[in-house]
């Protein structure tokens, strides 16, 4: 992203937040206001001016904690988790409550300088700025920017005791080989001087004392010969130092934004459990969805195989016919036709009784030793009417008995005398003979 000509700075000072743009310096809400109000006011100033919507935050010394410890305490490791675990022992906050930045001596037996700030407030600030579309370029402690600038400008030696005198407070730094061994907040130069002496004694160091700032105590009449005095505008120096770091892509000694970026995302700062729950549930649901999708595809493949089997079955039954789209419906239709035309098993088929087999049976059953003549033979749908002439009445009964022996049920014959002969009428019914083919 293209940097603005002069980076915008959001500075936490003694009483208020200040917004320093390339053109103006604006005083915002008090330092104890909620982060949302700070961001809202800053965004209201930035967006109409189209300042590039990117800024760096400069924290007051009251918002930052400092500690230093030997690298040997963490076994010489540079691992952030180990350093934070060690730092937790020196701070009134648990490791979960702060974000920290570290400055390590290059030697494994050297020192580690650490600063920390409250995690919840910092992450909230970052989240709100990002929600407003404002890019954050860095989070720097104001006084450490001044210290780094004085060293870079070689106004102080690499190892020194530096006293920063501000209108409302004083700060004491003990710096050894550009590593911040001690950083204390004091009330005025005399206390800062005493504090520096105590620290130097504790650390067993003999370092020159340098006082930087522009308070009344720095007037020539009050100066002590044992101390070096630097007449600098600390507020302007920290602004220049911050802009120089940003615009020249230099590395600050401490940038709490880097540490905060390692922390979980903005949602986690507000409702970490909700994000974890949502993420876990989303992952589980996606895995379940993938499994369901795979299973559905597999089932669909098996279904297609079953449909192909239906088509193969149809081809077996009708090899010369084109396979229809609806195989089952076609087979049902064909089955209905075949059943209706070739099977009497459904009981609906009104099969007629063939007359010829009945006549053959009847002729075979007629006795050959009795004289008679057939006047009429009617076979109508299984019913038999036989009109014959015999010599005597009794012969009609004998003929009826002979016919019944062949399975044709005749009722007793009706006889009447007709001239010299006797006319007999026989009525019977033959059992139905279905013309079924031999079973396969």
């Amino acid at each position: 992203m293209a940097r603005p000509k002069q980076a915008t700075l959001l500075i936490e000072r003694h009483e208020h937040w200040h917004l320093i743009t390339s053109e103006t310096e604006l005083t915002l809400c008090a330092v104890d206001c909620p982060a949302s109000q700070v961001v809202t006011e800053a965004a209201a100033q930035l967006k109409p001016k189209k300042e590039g919507c990117a800024l760096a935050i400069l924290l007051n010394a009251t918002s930052v904690l400092h500690s230093s410890f030997p690298r040997s305490d963490t076994g010489g490791t540079k691992a952030r988790a180990a350093l934070e675990f060690r730092l937790e022992a020196d701070l009134p906050l648990s490791a979960e409550e702060f974000v920290a930045a570290f400055q390590l001596d290059s030697k494994a037996d050297g020192q580690v300088a650490a600063i920390a700030t409250e995690k919840k407030k910092t992450l909230e600030l970052i989240s709100l700025l990002r929600d407003q579309g404002i890019e954050l370029l860095g989070i720097f402690p104001r006084s450490l920017l001044v210290t780094q600038a004085l060293l870079d400008q070689k106004k102080i030696p690499a190892s020194t005791a530096l006293l920063l005198e501000r209108p409302n407070s004083s700060e004491t730094f003990v710096i050894c080989k550009q590593l911040v061994r001690s950083w204390r907040l004091e009330n005025g130069i005399p206390e800062a001087e005493r504090g520096a002496a105590v620290v130097l004694k504790q650390l067993d160091l003999q370092l020159p004392l340098v006082v930087a700032g522009r308070p009344p105590e720095l007037e020539a009449t009050n100066r002590k010969p044992s101390m070096q005095y630097l007449d600098v505008d600390l507020e302007q120096l920290e602004i220049d130092s911050a802009r120089s770091l940003i615009e020249n892509n230099k590395v600050a000694w401490f940038d709490l934004l880097d540490a905060a970026s390692i922390e979980p995302g903005p949602l986690s700062s507000n409702s970490n459990w909700l994000a974890q729950l949502s993420g876990t549930a989303a992952c589980c649901l996606l895995v379940i969805a993938a499994a369901l999708f795979w299973r559905a595809q597999e089932t669909e493949r098996l279904t297609n195989e079953l449909r192909r089997s239906q088509q193969e079955i149809f081809t077996q039954a009708y090899p010369d016919k084109r396979v229809p789209t609806a195989v089952l419906a076609r087979l049902r239709s064909e089955h209905a036709k075949v059943t209706a035309s070739r099977s009497a098993s459904n009981g609906e088929l009104p099969l007629p009784a063939p007359a010829l087999p009945i006549i053959q049976n009847l002729l075979e059953a007629l006795p050959s030793d009795l004289p008679f003549s057939v006047q009429e033979l009617r076979v109508e749908n299984g019913r038999v009417y036989l009109d014959i002439e015999v010599e005597e009445h009794s012969e009609a009964g004998a003929i009826t008995a002979a016919l019944q022996s062949k399975g044709i049920a005749f009722s007793p014959p009706t006889t009447e005398l007709a001239g010299e002969r006797v006319r007999a009428l026989l009525r019977g019914e033959a059992s139905l003979q279905l013309p079924e083919a031999s079973a396969p």
Partner: protein
Amino acid sequence: MNSTYVWPALLLVAAITAIFCFQDLSAANRDYAASQAELEECEFLTEQILRLSNRPRLASLNVDSPQQVIGRVSEAMRFAVIPSSSLVSVAPSAPTRIGATQYQQRLTQLAFQNVSLAKLASFVTEVTKSNDGSYVRDIILSGPSRGSAAVADASNPTERWEVRLILTQLIYSPTSQ
């Protein structure tokens, strides 16, 4: 977009995706079960069709035209060596439905004169042999010129009958078609 809503939005999308996938799977399972049942029915129907196809046809699937009926009668008469002068009448009727069944029947009344029993049997056998649902249901024989000996001896060349018979054709004709 506010990053606060990223995870809940992702959760919502995942839930909707899972619901759609579940519905897809349910539909696929229903299709599979239906296809399996259809396959079993196809196998059963095919086995029945193949088995029944070997049986003679009890009912025709098509209605013979009157010309076809007369042609078949003429063919059977030639087979049975019945002179055309013996055929007194041929009276085909229109197909009629048999009760509430899915079948129709066409009755064709035939009348012969001077026909022996042997030729009549040969004629009836020939005219019904095509296995297309044709039957001779009714036969009326009358006026034998000889006595019992003539009836018993069907090969007697002097035996003659007046014959009326009904040629019945069964036709499968479902009412739904």
